[in-house]
Amino acid sequence: MKSFNARFYGNPRVYLGLVWLALVLIAALFAGVLAPRDPFAIVGQPFLPPGSEGFLLGTDSLGRDVLAGLIHGARTTLMIAVLSTVAAIAFGTVLGALAGYYGGIVDDILMRLTEFFQTIPWFLFAIVLVAILSPSAMNLVIAIAVVSWPPIARVVRAEVMAVKAREFVQAAVVAGQRDMGILFGQILPNTLSPLIVTGSLMVATAILIESALSFLGLGSPGQMSWGFQIGAGRSFLRDAWWLVTVPGIVILLTVLAINLIGEGLNDALNPRLADL
C-alpha cells in the first residue's frame, strides 16, 4: 500500500488544484504589494476591454481595474470562505462529538437541532440572516457558518459512534480516563480524515454561497470580493462580458481546485476506495 504522500502528490489533478490555489493564496496574502491602490479607485476609462493599455483584464463600469479587484477580492472571498468554514467545523464538531459520544437525550436534542436546519431551506435562511444583520463581511461569515454546520455535525457524530465501539476506546474507558480526555484525545483524532475532506469541500461551497448572495445584492458593500464583482457586472453581461465572465471563471477555477484537492485528500485518506 502506498503512503499518503505518494497517493496525494502522485495525483495530477491534485497538482493542478494546488497550483491554482497557491496562486490565489499568493494574491490574497500580497494583495497590497501586487495592486497597491484601492481596488475601488477610479483609475481609467469605463468599460476598457481586457488587454487594454495598463489594464490586463480591463476596467468595469466606473473605470476600476478588474485585475486589482480580483487580487483584492481573493483576500475577502477566501477570508469569508475560510472563516465561515472554520466556525462551522468548530461548532459542528463539538455538537456532533457530544451527540455521538453521549447518545441518549443529548443526541436527541442535538439531532433535532440539525433536523431543524435540514427542514428550513438553508439558502433562504442565509438570506434572512444577512438581511437582518445587514450585509458585511462579518455577517456573511456568520450566516454562511450558521447554515453550513449541520453536515459537519452529522459526519462527526457518525464517526464518533463508530470509533467509540472500537477496542482502544473501550480500553480507555475501562482504564478510567475522563470523558473529555477520551473524546478529544482518542476519538476525535480518528475522525479527522472525513472532517478534512468535508471541510475542504465546504470552503468551496462557501465561495459559491458568497457569490450567490452577492448576486442577489446582499454582498459586503465596502469590500472588494469576487461575488461583488459579479454582482456589479451582471447588468453589463451583454456589453462588457469580461465583468461577469472573468470573476465567474476565477470562482469556478478556485472551487474546482478546492474540490480536486478535497478529492485527492479523500483518495489518499481512504486508500481502499482509490484502489478500486
Partner: protein, 327 residues
C-alpha cells in the same frame, strides 16, 4: 413489511416532526422580530412618504401595538387551525398566495429532481463502469466543473446563448402571456418555458448525484458480499444489477432527500433569473417587505414539504433494501 406497521410508522414519524416544524416557526418568528424596520414603514416607504396618522393606523391594524408574546401566541393559535393569517401588503390571505405559487415551485423541483437524479445516476454508473479510463475521467471532470459553477452564472449564460442568440427557448416566465394558450397547447408552452430553468437548477445536483453514484458503486463493489457472490460463481452483470446497483442507490436517495430544502432555497436564484413564479421569489420579496405573515407561511409550508419528502425517501429505502426495517 406489513401495511399496518407502515401506517403506524408514518404516523409516528409525522408526530415526531411536529416539534421540529413548530420550532422552525417559532425561531423564525423571533428572528424576524430582531430585524429593524417593519411592514408599516415599508408600505409607507413604497408610497414615497405618508402621514404619521397613516403609519400609526397601519401599525394598529397589523397588531404590532401588542406585546410580542401575544403576537406569537396568536400566530401559533391560528396555525393550529391551519390559518396562516393575512398578508396586509398583498391584501390577500397567506394560504391563497402560497397555493398560487406552490405548483410552479413543485413543477420546477419535480422536473429538476427527475432530470438530475436520472442523469446523475446514469453518469455515475457509466463512470463506475468505465472506471479509470478516459471516459470516466471525462465524466468526472465534467461533474466537478458543473459542481463548481455558480448557478446564476449558468442561468445568465443559458439565457444569453439559447434564448437571445439562438432564440430556441423563451427568455423567462412560465407561459406565453400574449397567446394565452389552452389545453395541450398550454402544457406544451409551459414545458417549453420549463427547459432552461430546469437545466440551470439541475446542473449542480446532477454533478452531485453523479459523483455520489460513482463513489457509491465503487464502494459497494469492493465490499465483502460482492467477493462472496463472485466466489459463489454469480456473473458480474448479475451481481451489479441485483446487489451493487440497488445498494449503491441508497446514499444517492438519501442525499436527494437531504437536498430538498436546499433545492427550494436554490430556486430563489433560478427563479430570479428566469422570472419563474415560485415560492422562492415570494419569500425573497416578503422578507424585504417585512411581510412576516407571508414569510412565516413559506417557512411553514417548506418545512412540511421537506418532512414529506424525507418520509417518502425512507419508504423508498425500504423498497430498495428489504434488510432495513422501519423503526
Amino acid at each position: 413489511m406489513k401495511n399496518a406497521s407502515i401506517g403506524g410508522y408514518i404516523l409516528r414519524r409525522l408526530l415526531q416532526t411536529i416539534p421540529v416544524i413548530l420550532g422552525v416557526v417559532i425561531v423564525n418568528f423571533l428572528l424576524l422580530q430582531l430585524a429593524p424596520g417593519d411592514l408599516a414603514t415599508v408600505i409607507a416607504g413604497e408610497a414615497g412618504g405618508a402621514t404619521p396618522e397613516y403609519i400609526a393606523e397601519l401599525r394598529a391594524r397589523f397588531g404590532q401595538d401588542q406585546p410580542l408574546f401575544v403576537q406569537l401566541l396568536n400566530y401559533m393559535g391560528n396555525l393550529l387551525t391551519f390559518d396562516l393569517g393575512y398578508s396586509f401588503r398583498q391584501s390577500a390571505p397567506v394560504l391563497d398566495l402560497l397555493l398560487d405559487r406552490l405548483w410552479p415551485t413543485l413543477l420546477l423541483m419535480g422536473t429538476t429532481l427527475m432530470v438530475s437524479l436520472s442523469l446523475g445516476i446514469l453518469l455515475g454508473l457509466l463512470a463506475a463502469f468505465w472506471v479509470k479510463t478516459w471516459k470516466d475521467h471525462l465524466i468526472s471532470v465534467t461533474a466537478v466543473l458543473l459542481y463548481a459553477t455558480p448557478l446564476f452564472w449558468v442561468g445568465l449564460m443559458l439565457v444569453l446563448v439559447f434564448a437571445v442568440k439562438l432564440d430556441w427557448f423563451p427568455t423567462s416566465g412560465m407561459e406565453n402571456v400574449v397567446a394565452f394558450h389552452e389545453g395541450w397547447d398550454r402544457v406544451w408552452d409551459i414545458a417549453h418555458h420549463l427547459v432552461l430553468p430546469t437545466v440551470t437548477l439541475s446542473v449542480f445536483y446532477l454533478a452531485l448525484y453523479a459523483r455520489l453514484m460513482r463513489a457509491s458503486m465503487l464502494e459497494q463493489r469492493g465490499l465483502d458480499y460482492v467477493t462472496t457472490a463472485r466466489a459463489k460463481g454469480l456473473k458480474d452483470a448479475q451481481i451489479t444489477r441485483r446487489h451493487v446497483f440497488r445498494n449503491a442507490l441508497l446514499p444517492v436517495v438519501t442525499m436527494a432527500g437531504v437536498q430538498t430544502g436546499s433545492l427550494l432555497g436554490g430556486s430563489v436564484v433560478v427563479e430570479a433569473v428566469f422570472a419563474w413564479p415560485g415560492l422562492g421569489q415570494l419569500a425573497y420579496q416578503s422578507l424585504f417587505a417585512r411581510d412576516y405573515n407571508l414569510l412565516l407561511g413559506i417557512f411553514f409550508l417548506s418545512a412540511i414539504l421537506v418532512v414529506v419528502v424525507n418520509l417518502l425517501v425512507d419508504i423508498i429505502y425500504v423498497i430498495l433494501d428489504p434488510r432495513i426495517r422501519l423503526r
